[in-house]
């Protein structure tokens, strides 16, 4: 193994090394070994009289095709195809130092989130029995999302000024959540608790895509991030449930009740810290494992389409009307959210240039049948509202339904154009991305306007 005085040759070797490193089945030491081989070969070839670049061509050719090589390496080390799940500073642009700094920042922020949840207790606002759960519900997102925003500001290297701008929505949310004189357990209080995370998620999104100014590509990445975050969070939560269960069981074995520990510390602190940890995992692994959200979309789109069609057919067949109860409106809102989600994540995994295929037809069928089902439900609900008047819950649910309906109706139109080769898939994607802020703006309206309008009921 020789170092060459020939500068261009060294550069070519460096390029080759960077190229080989990108293969997931080839680890650092393997690349070093192969590079050593290449250098030995080059030394022999130049000694035999070849010029540097000629020698390089021959040596690389003799090394063989990298595809075949990494396939063989993967076969010899089959665990490597799995082991990518461990955190490794793989990308060339991330130095080990940066990775270590990020680990530290994430740990600090996660601990900060866990501590933040306990801070109100210092002022006598207790969580759990005999405490003030509504306070925590109203402020839930404020314990974690600012820290998550800080993480992304740090990660994207944003300036302090933009960070201060992003502090505004959080300050506003804190103000509205705590200054309004809510009637405890009232509808408007519940609405605030549900809607302020949706409104604030937009602020997180701004921090997430900072460098791209929330351009469409950045928005799509943020949508992907949100989906993966939800999946990771659920997985971590499952682990947390097991952990808590064992804690309770083991202390019960020595006649001690660890309920206060679980309810007062493990669950709230874990739930807060897990958001940061899950975000970090999604960030670290986005290029490493297959994204789960599109996979789930592919699995469930046909099933939901079938469900909606069967439901419609049954309704027509039996002629039984929708029985409008309190939760029906919310239920149909959730149905539309789900369909929008399926649409979004199908779009996120799709190559916008690809021609329409069977799955696209299925998507359109899903959207159209959801629209029909929702139309039927809406007429039933409208009748009920005209009979019993407006409540904050009904107005909020109706507004959401309308927003989603507009989105889906236009999506269905764009989808139909695309399927008839009259438009591109990109148009549909742009529409979905352009629509994203609408959800947050509506949520913000609910938080800001509803309590005073409806008299804090």
């Amino acid at each position: 193994m020789t170092t060459f005085a020939d500068r261009p040759l060294e550069e070519q070797i460096a390029q080759w090394r960077a190229y080989v490193r990108r293969r997931p089945a080839l680890h650092g030491p393997d690349v070093e070994e192969l590079e050593g081989h290449l250098r030995d070969q080059l030394a022999a070839l130049t000694k035999a009289g070849l010029a540097g670049d000629e020698a390089f061509l021959v040596a690389v050719k003799r090394m063989g095709s990298l595809d075949a090589l990494s396939r063989e390496f993967a076969r010899a080390h089959s665990e490597r195809l799995w082991k990518q799940l461990v955190m490794a500073p793989g990308a060339a642009d991330e130095s080990p130092n940066r990775t270590r700094a990020e680990t530290l920042v994430v740990l600090i922020l996660a601990v900060a989130a866990a501590v933040a949840i306990k801070v109100p207790e210092l002022f006598g606002v207790r969580l759990g029995r005999g405490g003030d759960p509504p306070f925590y519900a109203r402020n839930a997102s404020l314990f974690v999302l600012p820290l998550l925003t800080i993480y992304f500001l740090w990660k994207r290297g944003s300036e302090v000024v933009s960070g201060l701008w992003l502090a505004l929505p959080f300050a506003a949310a804190a103000l509205f959540a705590n200054v309004y004189p809510f009637r405890t357990g009232g509808d408007t209080e519940v609405l605030t608790a549900l809607h302020s995370p949706i409104a604030l998620w937009l602020a997180v999104g701004f921090a997430y895509v900072r460098s791209r100014r929330f351009a469409d590509g950045g928005r799509m990445d943020f949508v992907r991030f949100s989906g993966e975050l939800a999946i990771y969070y659920v997985l971590i939560a499952l682990g947390g449930v097991v952990f808590t269960g064992f804690t309770m069981m083991m202390f019960r074995a020595i006649e001690m009740n660890a309920e206060w520990l679980a309810q007062g510390w493990l669950i709230p602190c874990g739930a807060a810290g897990a958001v940061i940890i899950a975000s970090w995992l999604v960030e670290a692994k986005k290029s490493v494992i297959e994204n789960m959200a599109p996979v789930l979309t592919r699995l469930f789109t046909p099933l939901f389409t079938l469900l909606l069609l069967v439901f419609l057919a049954t309704m027509v067949w039996t002629g039984s009307p929708i029985n409008v109860k309190r939760e029906v409106l919310i239920g149909f809102d959730l149905l539309l959210v789900l369909v929008v989600g399926l649409l979004l994540y199908a779009a996120s995994a799709r190559d916008p240039q690809a021609p329409p295929d069977f799955f696209d037809g299925l998507q359109l069928l899903l959207v159209v049948s959801a629209l029909v089902v929702d139309g039927v439900a809406l007429t039933a609900i409208a009748a009920r509202i005209s009979e019993f008047g407006f409540t904050p819950n009904r107005v909020a649910a109706l507004g959401e339904n309308l927003i989603l309906l507009v989105n889906l109706a236009w999506s269905a139109w764009l989808y139909a154009c695309f399927l008839r080769h009259r438009g591109s898939f990109g148009a549909l994607e742009r529409w979905q991305m352009a629509y994203l802020p609408v959800y947050s703006v509506w949520a913000a309206l609910v938080v800001v306007l509803f309590p005073p309008v409806f008299g804090y009921r």
Binding site: M1, T2, T3, P29, D30, E32, E33, L34, G36, H37, R39, D40, Q41, R62, M63, G64, S65, L66, A68, L69, E72, F73, R75, A76, H77
Partner: protein
Amino acid sequence: MDMSKDLVAASATPLVLAILAEGDSYGYAIIKRVAELSGGHLQWTDGMLYPVLHRLERQGHVAAKWSASENGRRRRYYRITREGRAQLAAQRQQWQVVDGTLRGIWMNACTA
């Protein structure tokens, strides 16, 4: 002469083990030795040797360690283990059976 891929792959293990049985070595030197022994008829794709070496290492037939080479960079040296020698002996017997059988039939073909 173009050797069939399967044959090259099948002969790789006994060849590598046999070369290492002569003494510790490293990738580039093993390839050179193979070319030398076969009179240039056995041409491996250079990179493919390394997955073979790594597989043998996992199976415990060879052991590897990094040490400094004569030109300062570190290099991975391979050494045959006791299991490797046993494996080599077994493979040798198998190849002798194949070789003997083929010899027999081709001899008959010549004399017939």
